[in-house]
Amino acid sequence: MLKILFRTVMILMAAGIVAGGLYLYASNTNSGMSNFPGERGGSTSDQVEAPSLTNPEVPSTGRGGGPGGLHGGGFEEGGFLEGGMERGREGGSLLSWLGVLTQAGKIAVITIVIAVIQIIVKTIRRKHSQTLPQSTSVST
């Protein structure tokens, strides 16, 4: 029991290291993004014009119309980064089965390609090992 607990802690620690690295990366990137127009924390004139929670009357110049432009709804819901997630909020449409099948298909294609490469490599190695003793016997 103690062993399992220790191993679980080790796995979580490894995950924590990755998470920490990601957090540093994301926080740096986000602070870099805040200089873009419309992003929270930005210092451009666009941000002043963008509507905020304190001043909702000011019209938005961002595409999504939410507060803060780029981050706070600057991209449309269901846009390219969301992958149309909003459309599937309820989920369960019959057509969305195709999405699951597509993911399975992608994995299957990658698996088959690598399996074929493995078979080819094995065949080449086998042929190579078959020809190698013959050549040595000829040379001797």
Binding site: I4, R7, T8, I11, L12, A14, A15, V18, A19, L22, Y23, Y25, A26, S27, T29, N30, M33, E39, R40, L70, H71, L81, E82, G83, G84, M85, R87, G88, R89, E90, G91, G92, S93, S96, W97, G99, V100, T102, Q103, A104, K106, I107, A108, V109, I110, T111, I112, V113, I114, A115, Q118
Partner: protein, 169 residues
């Protein structure tokens, strides 16, 4: 042990497929299922702990070995899955509000989430291919053989029935 591993692997694979398609499941199921998947992956790692330690300790001793490639792919897959989970929590719209937590998520988390999701599909395919012989062996033992035996049993049953129905028997 092998059967347990196989069942857990199938569950992880199916849950991963469903979680990768939020249009199919909806955002709430997508998030909660992914969180459950994280716990299942920890169990998967615990079940393969001895292999991880053995290969990890011999990692720099023997170059160009299939296990070494598997180890590298598995580490990349682990990093990718952790990236999906963490970024998913950071951009969560169901789990965190349910728990009453508010986080200022940025654009970078969304980019990390989608990129690591795409990468994990690729790595899962490689992981699957590198362990193909084990998967195929277990599929034969626990899926195809029982189904085959079921059909054999069904085809032999009517013959017995006919023999029993013969007059004078």
């Amino acid at each position: 042990m092998n059967k347990k591993n196989f069942v857990i692997d199938i569950i992880i694979f199916l849950a991963f497929l469903v979680a990768m398609e939020p249009n199919f499941s909806g955002v709430a199921v997508h998030e909660w299922l992914s969180l459950a998947l994280a716990a299942t992956i920890v169990v998967h790692l615990l079940l393969h702990w001895d292999w991880i330690i053995t290969i990890g300790s011999q990692f720099f001793k023997k170059l160009w070995h299939t296990s070494r490639l598997k180890f590298v792919v598995d580490i990349l897959l682990f990093i990718s899955v952790v990236a999906i989970m963490i970024s998913g929590i950071m951009i969560s719209r169901v789990i965190l509000p349910t728990l009453g937590v508010e986080i200022q998520s940025g654009m970078a988390w969304r980019v990390i989430h989608s990129t690591s999701a795409d990468l994990s599909i690729l790595l899962l395919g490689v992981h699957f291919a590198l362990n193909w012989s084990w998967v195929w062996d277990k599929c034969k033992r626990y899926i195809f053989s029982p189904i085959g035996r079921l059909f054999k049993h069904k085809t032999t049953q009517p013959a017995i029935a006919v023999i029993n129905d013969e007059p004078g028997s």
